[in-house]
Symmetry: C3
Subunit: 398 residues, 3 copies
């Protein structure tokens, strides 16, 4: 798709307005499909300018505040890259890990960090029932602050991973699929297997698989979710997927067999996650001041995990996919058997064959975050992007 | 006051020059009242440009280095926001907490962090007799560095809270009073009660109450300082306040009764702090390598604190203020009874009524810091501000 | 040398091209002398623009990522200053200390932090056989990433100190010598004594003395390396120095007597370092999971150190240098007897006499790093520098 076609597509999906302007991006399912297409188109438009050596700087000044409630190298750099790309300066609020703050503290802090802030990126994915709630509280607090004249402008809130969704990851994955298969339309009828995989580590968040199945069912894909018994995702998300599949003309299937999911799949996304019941129990223990019982819970969870060592992405499983050539996807880092662990999510030879493609997949994330920043902050994104493409400002001298 | 009147006021207070240019901002009482008025006017001029969506960027490049010798979220963000507003990039020197370094180390480090630095913000408030001294040492070191050709320019030093004063807080508070009562002139004759309040935590710095009483006595206010026996502030500051009150035609009174301080007050500022004798003893113990005795000292101090639980800002006390409607102020975060602690500085219903006003109060801090940066770095602030107001550069595209 | 002469010199050393463009700066001995001269000339050209109040901003946007594998205040600020000077925003990757990561992790991480990155500065100096290897791996990874279309541009890798070399330090030292003696040509025949000195601390990296002797032997100097028995540097570096001295018409001598090294020296560089055999042993222990044996190794090393307390830079030793006025150099911070330790590398009176000169020495480091960034990123540095000098953009308003 050339630049003109891209701008025409964006014009169509925006429908003469910009539904994200002044708002937030918390979960993909909060937005109509056209808004998601607009995010994708904006990311691609930024990539085109950047790839040609051009400047995407649209902000004169302003902070992009990040709040990471657990460690993150990749997302931190994606956020800093996106901020810098657009001219914002990243600033990190380090609250201390594992803190579940609500109420007055959130309301106050949200305002205190927002006086000269354009956007706030939050990662809070460790506690079921908490992450999304916290982000919504921050959004409400800056609403009030702006309404009451405390803040000259209302920063947008961008979800960098919560307990329910990981929209910057799933949107990056969607762009990777679009680039791989040629268009979003080409995804219709493709079989995507989102499957659990074994990992020796415990407690990986559920938001990646949740985000993937909730998003991909909106594009007419045949999505199969596979996991061992006891590793189910949040029931609400399953409902969302059923509805999405119906609306988009795709399908959503659940199985408990990795091989069945891989059979004839066009795309496979094998990744470990924790059972949500365990995560819920963990949240309860920590909230009730019973942190000393968490270790025992983790031991049980690891022991349960260990029964499913066979859920590994092997060459044999890959061979059973469509033409033996399904696209392997991963949000990285993967647990690679014999490389990063003894037994893990994926065989070394499989991973190595797709390694660079997973890097390409990841390369969309800063662009997706930048697109969300731009769309939530600029009223007229079409004009902004057209100006970026035409003004011809280079990022550096020759 | 419109923009023209504001610029006229600034012109008058600057008196055709800029006494802060090339210098530092360490304590409000180091400067004549007109210089403080110039800081206030500059902060308001920046707020006007920012509030209209305009860019306040005046630096092309340059670092704004911060040194935080104890933890701080709010001040850290205020500093980063101010730096970003003006076009500087914040860079934090993390020396490790509670380190009392002097002499060669300070002299050397001050130069090593200043090669491309416009301003250095320092917070060092934990040790009586140390914070201001350290900042003065840094100022002397960059003086020497610049004089001897090591530094192409001499960065300014801005006090983000020391053991004696907290000028960015007190100046923000002054601007809040100016906005609330209409003008600095309107503050004349107003009764301000700076009073100790109970908190279950120990060792809050003295610099907030010190800064408030030393500043507000300069504007003709009737300042009453109230605290239990044994919670006195530094004797030198008390002398300063007496002198200020005399010079400005206001008054300065000390009482040991919260109710007496609140009676007919126009403004109340109830806040906990540690007795300076305890802080001095603590400094001595830490300096003498007797850190193991600090815990016992803290226990004693907490036990002493606990005798004064009745020093809480209740509805009853508020009702006794002028018309029952005194302005409640706090530097945040407050210890709110039943919200952030069991018993604290202020009743929940009182705090909630003034909550948004305390946010407004806090919103001046980044602007005050930016004003100090601008005035210490730019020779002709009037021209700089007039240009910001007239050039019409937006912070972001529509 | 005036600006015109400087640009003429740069034109000559660059030879009509720019051998650093698109590449890295890992070790001075990877590059011909003319390339090193070009780095020096570029640093001086930047200093001239900066010293006149001008802007050196050439990047519109872009990240400058730093990876510090051990603590560093000075180098961190030098890197942030250099980045800011050119318009890049510094972003730090905190991997946790003392981690020896290789292979897949390095390959992946290098790409994940590079999507919008212009340059990566790395400090990794604690493990013999590791630091340079790690940097080369990062360089290879971004090569692959760019070749395969993952990265729109290939960031440069700049060595901020490895196990073998410390090129930003040694180049800053060269510029200090050039400024002190008038020209690089004037260094020919000067005697430089790089000597070990006693320090009560253990395990200082070898890369400073290695970098100094490997670089200074290229400019026709008579370089003497002095250290107690058992404190030898890496054999490969010694070979490099022999070759360099031969090629440049200088000399390279090794002695085990501090007094002999100081005699008639024009320049003395007395500094502590660890024996490389101890560092090698330490690396082996840590790699083999025998971290508990490191403490014993350190005790032995400290005991060995203590036998050489007489290796201190005294007034007596200084008096034996050329005219009693050799230039004393140090990379800072120095262990100063009676100031920063009981017995150390240098007598207090000697250090104080040269203190400001060591600050001047250090002031070149941000400029050297900026020069390396500029030369590795810009194809036509002559045009870029000429434009900076002529465009007359001030860093801030008057």
């Amino acid at each position: 798709m050339d630049d003109k076609a891209l701008m025409a597509s964006l014009e169509e999906t925006l429908g003469g307005g910009n539904p994200l302007h002044g708002g937030d991006f918390l979960r993909t399912w909060d937005h109509p499909v056209n808004t998601l297409r607009a995010v994708a188109d904006t990311a691609r438009a930024l990539k085109a300018v950047y790839g040609a050596g051009g400047s995407c700087k649209i902000f004169d000044s302003g902070l992009a505040v990040s709040i990471f409630r657990d460690q993150s190298t990749r997302t931190r750099f994606s956020f800093a890259s996106a901020a810098n790309l657009l001219g914002l300066v990243p600033s990190d609020l380090d609250e201390g890990k594992s803190q579940i703050a609500h109420g007055e503290t959130v309301r106050e802090t949200a305002n205190m960090i927002s006086f000269m802030t354009e956007t706030i990126g939050i990662r809070d994915d460790m506690f079921i029932g908490e992450g999304h709630k916290y982000m919504a509280e921050v959004a409400e607090a800056v609403d009030e602050g702006h309404r009451e004249g405390v803040l000259a402008q209302r920063p947008s809130v961008i979800n960098l991973q919560c307990d329910e969704d990981h929209p910057t990851q799933s949107m990056a994955d969607l762009l990777h699929l679009q680039a791989t298969f040629g268009s979003l339309e080409a995804l219709r009828g493709k079989k995507l297997a989102m499957t659990w995989a074994y990992s020796p580590s415990y407690g990986k968040p559920l938001s990646v698989p949740q985000g993937i199945i909730a998003l991909m069912t909106r594009f007419g894909m045949d999505v199969t979710l596979a996991h061992p018994e006891g590793y189910g995702l949040l029931p609400d998300t399953i409902d969302v997927c059923q509805r999405h599949a119906k609306e988009s003309g795709g399908s959503f299937t659940q199985v408990h067999d990795m091989g069945e999911a891989f059979r004839d799949a066009d795309i496979v996304y094998p990744k470990s996650w924790a059972p949500f019941q365990v995560m819920e129990e963990r949240t309860k223990l920590l909230r009730g001041g019973r942190g000393d019982e968490v270790a025992a819970l983790e031991q049980d969870a690891l022991a349960a995990n260990a029964k499913h060592r066979s859920w590994e992405t092997t060459e044999e499983l890959m061979a059973a996919t469509r033409g033996g050539e399904a696209l392997y996807m991963h949000c990285l880092p993967a647990d690679i058997t014999g490389v990063s662990c003894e037994e893990g999510e994926v065989a070394a030879s499989v991973f190595e064959r797709y390694r660079l493609r997973t890097y390409h997949e990841a390369s969309w994330k800063p662009l997706v975050i930048a697109a969300m920043m731009l769309l939530t902050r600029c009223e007229k994104p079409l004009e902004v992007l057209a100006n970026l493409a035409s003004r011809g400002v280079a990022r550096r001298p020759a």
